[in-house]
Amino acid sequence: MNSARENRSPDAIESLRTEELMINMGPQHPSTHGVLRLVIRTDGELVSEAWPHIGYLHRSFEKIGESVNYNQVVPYTDRLDYLASMNNALAYCLAVERLAAIEVPLRAAYLRVIMAELNRIASHLVAFGTYALDLGAFTPFLYGFREREDILAIFEQASGARLLYHYPRIGGVARDIGPDTVQAIRRFITVMRAAWPEYNALLSNNAIFIKRTANVGIVPRAQAIAHGLTGPCLRGSGISYDVRKAHPYSHYEDFTFAIPVGEGKMGTLGDCWDRYWVRMVEILESLKIIEQALDGLPQGPFLAKLPRTVKVPAGEVYVPCENPRGELGFYLVAQGKPQAMRLKVRAPSFCNLSITNALARGVLVADVVAIIGSIDIVLGEVDR
């Protein structure tokens, strides 16, 4: 929130026309996307450029991955995309298990799926709520968080924590769940199914919301693929690519679910409304997956028998997973020691954020807010 005068970079002063203005949507935001700095150059009312400046949340995750043991990395993975902690840890554990040829028991795989899908719903509820908040509708945020409280209570029963769970482990999951937790999950599914039409009545079908998001931030197919978009951003443009179907992991192939894809229902294909709608429908699909997983939950161990320090033979592996925000993958290079040699994170929000400038050209500043909200980034994984 600085005034324009302090934010002119030196080279901009020479070429600055009188109508152009450099605006800093500073690292501190009222919108809850994290510490993102957007430097926007406006030509009068319209934005001519919008460059994201990141790094305010950089915590050297990849360097830490080279200095601690494999199983000690798992709590750090929680903190990448802190809204989808289960999914991050799952992706990392899959990478290690693939390289070390560790067999995960079936019960553990199903538990991982249940938790990952619950976390997907929780993350999409945050995306829904904060998007509404950005656009000035304060109430849907609280309705979404009311449902999310049920999920966090389930996670607290299962793992002991409400946000950073450290639940998927190398070889399985940390703890088993009891009948209370199963009952709580089933109760939540009913509650969520009842609340979903209310979200649509309040926000999705609201004429003002549609006017703000439809035909705004349109991402054509080719551009989506060129910028490496994944997740709802990609599917909002009509491309039906979901890692859970394309490269199934953790027994996702056992479950029947659809991949929601944007259709340009309210405006143009690939606009903000489509991306938002993909997230909303994914909530329903995740509920289906959870139900199937609960119904088919087998008995058995929840963690494979492993030595205290996991031994991973030398080699490299990349396992993509479908995070709520897109494709998360850990590129792991092992060297036969208890620590990895290189742990690179392919973060979905980092790649999705790259499209900001292309989308923000020629729109009003209010639309930039709508665009960033529809891309749905979490700075934890953008900066790592």
Partner: protein
């Protein structure tokens, strides 16, 4: 790449937009009015507390008497916030410090999972806020006076000396035994 509804005459679209604006607004208003009269979900903290399930990862509880001083917890910690300071080993050990720096602790539970006798567990106490940074470092070992520490050190030295003497006695008697045996 437009897959929207069939193009309508702008005149018709104008009134359609207007009508949808009015109807969707009314739908939203009806929903929020219903919620005005529904029961509220607020928990009046700190008078009302949430139900904390068993296994909630809060502050540690350490039972010093059962600790084997295997230091598995120290090794397992990903952020090196657990530091153990002890003298002696096995049953003769005296644990001087069992420090956990809560400014670093992730509450990830790796230390407790590594603990074999389960003398270290995470409890359900979550209300840990403090205003001073030095209160973040908590020593879970019982307070020992310097006199006790000195006494224990002496005890250990004494035991060490006894062990040494016993070992020397075992090693040295080669000459004695030969002498004794071969005294002919």
């Amino acid at each position: 790449m437009t897959v929207s509804a069939a193009k309508r005459h702008p005149f018709v679209q104008y009134f359609a937009d207007l009508w949808s604006g009015v109807t969707t607004t009314c739908t939203g208003l009806r929903l929020t009015l219903r919620y005005l009269f529904k029961p509220k979900v607020t928990l009046l903290y700190p008078e009302e507390r949430p139900a904390i399930p068993a296994g909630h990862r809060g502050i540690h509880r350490y039972v010093e008497e059962e600790c084997l001083l295997c230091r598995a917890c120290e090794a397992a910690c990903p952020v090196d916030c657990l530091v153990i300071n002890a003298i002696g080993r096995g049953k003769d050990r005296m644990i001087l410090n069992f420090d956990i720096d809560y400014a670093k602790c992730l509450f990830c539970n790796l230390c407790c999972e590594a603990c074999n006798p389960k003398c270290l567990v995470l409890t359900g106490d979550y209300d840990l806020s403090t205003t001073k940074r030095d209160t973040c470092l908590i020593d879970f070992a019982h307070r020992k006076t310097s006199a006790q520490i000195e006494e224990h050190k002496k005890f250990l030295e004494q035991k060490e000396a006894e062990k040494k003497a016993a070992a020397e006695k075992r090693d040295a008697p080669k000459e004695c035994g030969e002498e004794g045996n071969g005294s002919n």
